[in-house]
């Protein structure tokens, strides 16, 4: 455990910018979008003041930010970037490619709603767009977790058995712009924790010229793409290994799944991001009232901790899953996955969509969800 501990009042953006300063990545291509802007503004100020030696590339779009990141990460340089919402939407084509080319890029995401109508506030629609890309996707509950996950992310991304992009999500405004006490590790501790950047086949290794990003026909495509799935499976273990090591360093354990007061729970709620903080309070209240309720906080959306979700819910009869993104005409993504995971168990699985475009989810609404009294769209005003 770290011997000296000092908490500072930081927003999620500042916390993540500080993690980036401590990691000191080689290259950071950036393009501004609310609520990500304070991350890149804070970070470029660190660079301007000589606190990191990073090469900033002020690209002309997010598509180019992710493209430059792929080039840089595979050239042999540790590469990070950040985005939100429309920016992530613009990147999606290249995020799939980054995963396919096994580029261990770390990206901070200030999760935000997608247009139209244009809206700058938090929900998870942008992250869901990249769900099937092959990128690892983590969600923080608060500014501290955003910092912690950002420090852990290079270790996960760059692990030789993983080599996938890692997206570290924090809810727009609720986390990116809200100041809370955040404990930073000493700079040297972070630097030692992340270590040197090493990838198996850097493009700039001229002694072994390689072709990267080749064209594959049906005879190979399936196998090549399947390697991502295999790396994701391995990432499940790697995330826990890195989390254990990080706990030794920080005293904080950031597992892919946090089980909160689930031991003897009959009813469980599943969610991601800042909402988990509010749900924990409601769980505490309900527990005090004698209700057997608990929370599954999913920190790793990809890879989804499937077995652990199954085990954690084994004693539950009711599971409510909250998606902060909609799938018009379908079933919420996390809801559908939990339903599939718990298929055959005795739990009845319900799904709710909430919080689109930054709408708050109140404790009263969370209570209604636990009570089975909430509509599918929680917090939606009736059309009347």
């Amino acid at each position: 455990m770290a011997s000296v501990r000092t908490a500072r009042l930081l927003t999620g953006s500042e916390a993540v910018a500080n993690a980036m300063r401590q990691i000191d990545p080689d290259v950071v291509p950036i393009y501004p979008i609310t609520p990500q802007t304070p991350i890149i503004e804070r970070f470029t100020r660190f660079v301007a003041d000589g606190e990191t030696s990073t090469e900033i590339v002020n690209v002309e779009s997010e598509h180019s930010a992710m493209s430059a990141a792929v080039g840089s990460a595979l050239a042999g340089a540790r590469t990070m970037t950040a985005t939100s919402s429309q920016g992530l939407a613009l990147m999606v084509e290249v995020i799939y490619i980054a995963a396919g080319m096994r580029a261990p890029i770390v990206m901070a995401v200030g999760n935000r709603a997608l247009s139209a109508p244009i809206n700058i506030h938090g929900d998870h629609s942008d992250g869901y767009l990249a769900r099937d890309s092959g990128a690892i996707q983590l969600f923080a509950e608060n500014a501290q977790e955003a910092y912690d996950l950002m420090v852990m992310a290079p270790r996960i991304a760059e692990h030789p058995d993983v080599l996938l992009p890692v997206l570290v999500g924090q809810d727009g405004f609720t986390i990116t712009h809200s100041a809370e006490p955040v404990e930073l590790l000493p700079d040297e501790a972070v630097r030692a924790f992340v270590g040197e950047y090493r990838i198996p086949a850097p493009l700039l290794d001229l002694s072994a010229p390689r072709s990267q990003g080749m064209f594959a026909m049906p005879d190979y495509y399936f196998e090549l793409r399947h390697q991502i799935a295999a790396a994701m499976e391995r990432a499940r273990e790697v995330i826990e290994e890195v989390a254990a090591e990080y706990e030794e360093l920080s005293g904080r354990r950031l597992s892919a799944l946090e089980e909160y007061r689930l031991e003897d729970a009959e009813r469980a709620l599943v969610c991601m991001g800042s909402t988990a903080g509010t749900v924990k309070d409601v769980v505490d209240e309900l527990r005090a009232e004698g209700e057997r309720v608990g929370l599954l906080e999913v920190r790793s959306f990809r890879p989804l901790p499937i077995e652990r979700i199954r085990a954690a819910c084994s004693g539950c009869s009711e599971v409510a899953v909250l998606d902060r993104a909609d799938t018009p005409g379908g079933v919420g993504a996390l809801h559908a996955e939990c339903a599939a995971i718990l298929c055959g168990s005795r739990a009845r699985v319900r799904g709710h969509v909430y919080g689109l475009g930054g709408r708050d989810l109140s404790p009263a609404e969370i209570r209604a969800v636990f009570a089975g009294a909430a509509p599918r769209y929680v917090g939606l005003r009736s059309a009347s």
Partner: protein, 319 residues
Amino acid sequence: MSRLKTLVANERGTPPLAGGHALCQGCGIPVVVRTVLDSIATPKVVVGATGCLEVATTRFPGTAWNVPWMHVAFENAAAVASGIEAAYRALARRGALPQDDPITFVVFAGDGGTYDIGLQALSGALERGHRFLFVCYDNQAYMNTGIQRSGATPLGASTTTTPAGLESLGKMQRRKDMTAIAAAHRIPFVGQAAASHWYDLSRKVEQAVAAGGPAFLNVLSDCPLGWGHEPKLFKSVLDLAVETRLWPLYEVVDGSYRITYLPKRRVPVTEWLALQARFTHLQRPDAEKIVAEIQRRVDEDWDRLLRRASSDAAATEVS
């Protein structure tokens, strides 16, 4: 050393793009690639945009490339090169890479990956000043997907998305002047060349690499399938594009225009059109006006270029 010997010497016994790739007979692209890369003495790293060159040279698990090569997507080659070049600078600065033998970064993209979908990324990279050479092999259409029209397709050409027909004379817009667009970025070197004129191309590459900043080369390259000519007419059809003044060879160095090849006589553009099936419909009586329009615009563009180059030359003499 003669230029040819220099090219051979730069290959160091290993062609950067080996034979055995799947590009068509009579295609100008491999000529452009080999001429460009062999004109560079330093180690090279190549970035490619999606298109014929990429698809025909890198079918997994084989590759025709003997130099480090990367492809990411269609529209972002310049952005990928920006990232690689930034990585190179970062790594060199902290001593992780040798700095004595600098790497030259070269991008190859078709006209689609340059004029159209790739224009934004290219413009951004040129404005930011990354040290790389962007080579557009301009075969005047999206060839890889089956000869669709691009912003580089000339007026009157029949393509699969602007087909000539009873009510159509092919593409009805003129091509954009991509070389001028690149020059408007005020980068150190911009050149227009043709696959047929290898000496001129090679000299421009040398100059582009020495210019010490972003450089752009627009190289006319034929496509026997898309243009509709015999593969063996590779050189003639490109030569005629240059001789008719439809594709002037020139360079813009630090903003100054210089014509690098002066055709000796006026060859009518119809001679060039006649070689290619994509213009066959222009022989119809109702196409006379279009043909006249093509000629008028070629003359107009040439005169403007000539004026520009002579005033820049005069300005150089005065200063």
